[in-house]
Amino acid sequence: MRLIVYFWKRLQSVGAVYELFLHMPLPGWLVAFLKGLHFRWKQLPLDTRGVCIGIAIALGMHVFHDLDSIRKLEDSGLDWMIKMNRGVPRMATSQLPPMTFIDIDERSYRHWGEPLTVPRDKLLSLIRYAVEGGASIIMVDVELSRLISPDDQALSAYLSGFHLASSAPPEILLARGLRYPLKGGSLFEQRPSFLDSVVLSNPHLHWAAPLYSLDDDGVIRHWRLWESTCYTEPVKGVRQVLALPSFQLLAATLLAGHEAASTLSTTLQAYLPASCDPVSDWKAHEEGALVSVGNLRFHARQEHLGQRILYGLPWHLKAAESYPIRQGWSESNHPVFTIKPAVTITEVAQLEAHSDLQGQVVVIGASYADSRDIYATPLSAMPGSMVIANSFFSFSYKGELEEYPWLKWLTEIVLIVLVAKVFAHLPGLAAKLVASALTLVLLLPISFLLFRSGVWLDFAIPLAAVEMHAMIGGIEKKLDQLND
């Protein structure tokens, strides 16, 4: 629906200028110039004229591809594609472990007496549950900067030693508190935490960045794979620049092993600015180098398309819907995604062995309304933890979204020829309708199929190109009238 509304709005603004041109009286010198141009143009065969128009439009689209308006057109197409792939079982056949979202939901929040912030004793119970359940990765999407109560000491003590109780302890990723710089610097500042020393001393604890880019329509579409941040050492006050990977990047790396995680840390150091102060010659991060860590590849500079989160996990399923089944994970069929209210963990004293978390990726976060942690996404509004879960699946499944330039050019050539033929042989409105239908029929199935492999073939921009083709047809008609 948004796609249609978007197209309609664009057409209204462009169309107004177009209509003005068609109906306004033109000065004599312009009429003479246009008549000369038109005469030469009319000497060309119809098909050739159509192909020329198509090539001009395609070149224009490529030259101005980075314009915000063209990107938004592409975003609309991708949003629609994401919606059409909502909850489909593309991850079910991947090698990724299933995921469980331990959700501090409205019910849990009310049962806990509506605390202003997430109680640390409850959070400790949830982490302990995930650790004892055998999770492989636990992402804690709760900020842990400030000391609040004596319970913090218990949390700190547990996190210091949880890894000693198991031969294969999980990796715990904690959301790092980040704040905007006050003095005009471009780097986020890491907020000191009472857990700083604990994280430093335990190799199974990691800080992760929970940052995402919010588009100007208030929708989260793009991840930020890592951040250059500034950290001020609390005792001596020394400031240093540190790379902080995102939840999805760090989790995907840790799944590949501890060695990959330490490689990630050292690799990212190469792309950091020299100091926390604003600098004009910081180029390394801007050059778009390809970073390789184990099997993972991503761009140091975050490309617009490569940053897209391919949301697949809806927060709310419709009645009688279920998440896909992860094939071959355990003896029983296991869904790729499970949401478990926090209250079913913290309020049940004698939980039986919960080995169903064995090897899973667990996200602990909040969805209650007062948490103010709910965001618009192309799928629907969802809690920040669901954005993290989707980013993890999206990044681990296929990495950055790709485009095949050769395929793009090939489809464009085919479409230019076909659309030229259509406009050569059919009258205005009929040509526009047939050309649009032809574009959709040709591109949509390929686009759907490629999307499942993490490749994007845009269909929205070619549709806009057909519209432009029709407009140029209208201009030709006006010139014909001038000649007559």
């Binding site: 919606k83 792939n85 909850g87 000491q153 819907e321 949401i339």
Partner: protein, 288 residues
């Protein structure tokens, strides 16, 4: 055209049946929970509120019991109420969304007047009084008890703004046994005179916050003796285990005494330090 339509429709569609997977929880038990049976793989589980329910579980209520159980499914969207006349064997199934069903839903949504994802938000900020770093003494549970006499005493508190003023005063006579100012949140008082009776320990910080705790002083014979089997242990283990046992018995009333015993040791090991930190945070050992 036909090929294109087929290509779109050919994209997957499937139904899932989960077994042994959590699909809901007990939302409410109205009546006697002992009358409710939750049977999983042939084994009975105690029914309590918020107990996770798995596919394959059987939930029933004993005959002649008025108890009712509500089980929630689908993230709380659906529920089923079970009573003596209606048992439930849980079997939740669901259709996995496919491109075809999503496309259909999108086409249907084009004809709807109301927006699909509209929600109400609260455009206000939140506030609270500053409870962080509040002065408190988790080391002292209710009925904290000490042995009377001329003795040393270790104390620890948390939060607040230094410097602190600490006073130990006898309630009936207002006689001050100890008064000192301190920058740190731990302190060992080498010489305190306590006679049997009720005392009040007051810690004040420089922001005028105060924490008061009642402390009882009793004759030496009242302190419980550690279990005999501890005597056979090596010195290091014996003193820590004895102190742990003392801190845990009688609902923690001897925790301060146990804390003092370990805090006075000149060369403490890591386990003893951990013991002190745990007591300072109000964590008492469990004694069976």
């Amino acid at each position: 055209m036909r090929c294109s339509i087929l290509a779109i429709i050919a994209i997957l569609s499937s139904t899932s049946v989960w077994s042994g997977v959590e699909v809901g929880w007990i939302e409410d038990i109205s009546g006697n929970a002992a009358d409710v049976d939750v049977v999983r793989n042939g084994k009975k589980i105690d029914a309590v509120r918020f107990l996770p329910i798995q596919n394959g579980d059987r939930v029933s209520v004993a005959n002649n019991s008025p108890t009712k159980v509500t089980v929630s499914f689908g993230n709380g969207r659906n529920s089923d109420t079970i009573d003596k006349s209606h048992a439930l064997t849980v079997k939740q199934t669901g259709e996995v969304p496919s491109v075809a069903t999503n496309l259909m839903a999108w086409v249907v949504s084009l004809g709807k007047k109301e927006p699909q994802d509209q929600r109400v938000v609260m455009a206000s900020t939140r506030t609270s009084s500053d409870s962080s770093n509040k002065l408190n003494i988790p080391l002292l549970p209710d009925e904290t008890t000490l042995i009377a006499g001329k003795r040393p005493l270790a104390l620890a508190w948390q939060g607040g703004k230094p410097p602190y003023e600490v006073t130990l005063v006898r309630r009936d006579t207002r006689e001050v046994s100890a008064r000192f100012s301190e920058l740190n949140t731990t302190q060992i008082i080498k010489d305190v005179s306590l006679s049997p009776g009720v005392y009040e320990l007051v810690v004040r910080d420089s922001a005028s916050a105060a924490w008061r705790e009642k402390v009882l002083a009793v004759e030496g014979g009242a302190i419980p003796e550690p279990p005999a089997e501890l005597r056979a242990l090596p010195e290091n283990a014996r003193r820590l285990l004895s102190a742990s046992w003392l801190a845990g018995v009688e609902e923690g009333k001897w925790a301060l005494e146990a804390y003092t015993q370990i805090a006075l040791l000149a060369n403490r090991n890591g386990a003893e330090e951990n013991f002190l930190r745990a007591l300072e945070a109000g964590q008492l050992p469990e004694v069976k």
